[in-house]
């Protein structure tokens, strides 16, 4: 399903005054595409993602997913958070089955689906462990599997690898690309890491400082499927350089 963001803006009102987090933003994300949203911290990119997820209400504008207006969170848009947010009282398998249970899928069917995703993330051996026993990378793989098990049309990832070390992060990026190629979801991926933004995306949406606006949409034409070799090509370096310049300009302007 495609995601249409139309003139979406967000103003936070508190006792100390109002903060304009997001200036009106419009963006069309075609079905099945992988779009990364890149911007300096506090530019409202997470806010934009949360509005698409339905966790935050837009002060103006609308978001449509597959033509239907978003008016709250729903199973059609899976979300992966930076802090993993696995349910610590549930095992890895029960975490993956959470959405299915909420939907009332019978246990046997649930188990078949969780088996598939446990295999997909290579954590069959950890099915009955609790999240506290997992490393950061493993936790995030479970969180991705949990979102996917629900079979959402759109996957929203909010700086999912921000807390991981560089090596794990690189492996997780390839993992998400593998998932995307296999399940053909529409993916919106928020990050402040330029290399990550380029490596993953069909197009990088660059946002300005607060209040966030879309400064530029940079298409990424690197061939797919991509693995770490892609990072060492001149095309990759050129894109990285260009985005670095835009972000630097944005930060020093």
């Amino acid at each position: 399903m495609d995601v249409q963001i139309e003139n979406v803006a967000k103003t936070f009102v508190s006792r100390r005054g109002t903060v304009e987090a997001l200036a009106p933003v419009s963006l069309d994300v075609p079905a099945g595409s992988f779009v990364t949203i890149l911007g300096p911290s506090g530019c409202g990119k997470s806010t934009l993602l949360r509005i698409v997820a339905g966790l935050e209400e837009a002060s103006q504008g609308v978001v449509r997913v597959g033509g239907r207006e978003v008016c709250g969170p729903g199973a059609d848009r899976g979300m992966v958070f930076q802090a993993y947010s696995l349910f610590p009282w549930l095992t890895v398998r029960e975490n993956i089955e959470f959405g299915l249970r909420a939907k009332g899928v019978p246990p046997r069917e649930r188990r078949a689906i969780s088996d598939e995703y446990l295999r997909q993330i290579g954590l069959e051996a950890f099915a009955d462990r609790y999240p506290k026993e997992l490393s950061g990378g493993m936790k995030q793989r479970v969180a991705i599997a949990r979102a996917l098990a629900n079979d959402p049309q759109v996957l929203l990832l909010d700086e999912p690898f921000g807390a991981l070390d560089a090596q794990t992060r690189a492996i997780m990026q390839e993992h998400v690309l593998g998932v995307w190629e296999k399940y053909h979801k529409t993916i919106l991926f928020v990050t402040h890491d330029i290399e990550e933004a380029v490596f993953m995306a069909d197009a990088v949406v660059v946002m300005t400082k607060r209040p966030g606006r879309i400064r530029e949409v940079v298409p990424v034409d690197l061939p797919r499927p991509r693995d770490y070799h892609a990072r060492f090509t001149p095309e990759f370096t050129a894109l990285k350089e260009r985005l670095t310049e835009i972000i630097r300009e944005e930060l020093t302007a």
Partner: protein, 278 residues
């Protein structure tokens, strides 16, 4: 021995073998050492106590020796039917505490989950919480007499209000991210309450129950001191009238032991129930 020392020092990580180990701020000690210290604390108390009594530094009328206390305790059980008193007290605490939990859990959960219910109930409960349960004893005697109902009611009043407030606070402490994650997975409001907010709060609620159970014991003794014909508090009061300090101290110790044992049992049960905790 002396020749081995330097080798020994090299084999262990720096600092761990220094005298006074474990005295690093927030330092850890092995479980066996912990048990040793704990036993030393109890033994130290008994030693000081024995010293005070055996040297006649204090009048045995006011503080009998530990051996004398044990002897008195044995007599209490053998001749005075103290077992029935202990059972009566335990039952009262249990009933009062169970009744308080039965009211406080649902009410506290509703208060924590739904703001309007909190607004309705919270100020009332906060107000009631500051009224000492023991002050209600005269009133309760008028209302329900001096029987079992009065004892149980004191425990109930003593624990229910704090329990409600603390349960509500634990419910409120649900991590926003977990709730949001559940919503993005398609969970309904009711599903979020039942499968996220409640499981998230259970360990803290359980710890609160443990804590408040300890308070319940202080109320029961007060209740039994005022009007009772059985129970540990009753025995303590009777013993005071007869200057029987040995029995008083033994009664107090029994309460301590029951409290310690029930707390250890609840702690172990909690560890098993909430094995997922980090």
């Amino acid at each position: 021995m002396r020749a081995e020392r330097p080798l020994d020092a090299r084999a262990t990580p720096a600092g761990s073998r220094r005298p006074g180990r474990g005295f690093k701020p927030l330092g850890e000690i092995p479980a066996s050492l912990y048990t040793t210290y704990a036993a030393a604390g109890f033994l130290g108390l008994v030693a000081v106590w024995s010293l005070l009594t055996s040297t006649r530094a204090v009048d045995p009328l006011f503080l009998p020796s530990p051996a004398e206390i044990l002897r008195r305790g044995w007599e209490l059980f053998r001749d005075m039917g103290f077992g029935a008193d202990v059972a009566a007290t335990v039952l009262r605490v249990f009933l009062g505490f169970a009744a308080a939990s039965a009211v406080a859990l649902p009410l506290g959960i509703l208060m924590g989950v739904y703001r309007p219910i909190e607004a309705l109930v919270e100020p009332l409960v906060s107000f009631a919480r500051y009224m000492p349960a023991s002050a209600f004893i005269p009133l309760l005697i008028l209302w329900v007499g001096v029987g079992e109902a009065e004892k149980v009611a004191v425990i109930f009043l003593g624990s229910v209000f704090s329990l409600v407030l603390m349960v509500a606070v634990h419910i409120r402490q649900a991590q926003r991210e977990l709730v949001e994650a559940a919503y993005t997975l398609g969970a309904s409001d009711a599903f979020v309450v039942r499968h996220v907010i409640l499981p998230n709060a259970w360990p803290a609620i359980y710890d609160t129950l443990r804590l408040v159970l300890g308070w319940a014991w202080t109320y029961i003794i007060v209740a039994e001191l005022v009007a009772a014909d059985s129970g540990i508090g009753h025995v303590i009061l009777q013993s005071q009238r007869m200057l029987n300090t040995g029995n008083i101290i033994f009664g107090i110790l029994v309460i301590g032991v029951i409290g310690l044992v029930s707390d250890l049992v609840m702690k172990a049960a909690g560890r098993a129930l909430f094995a997922w905790r980090g």
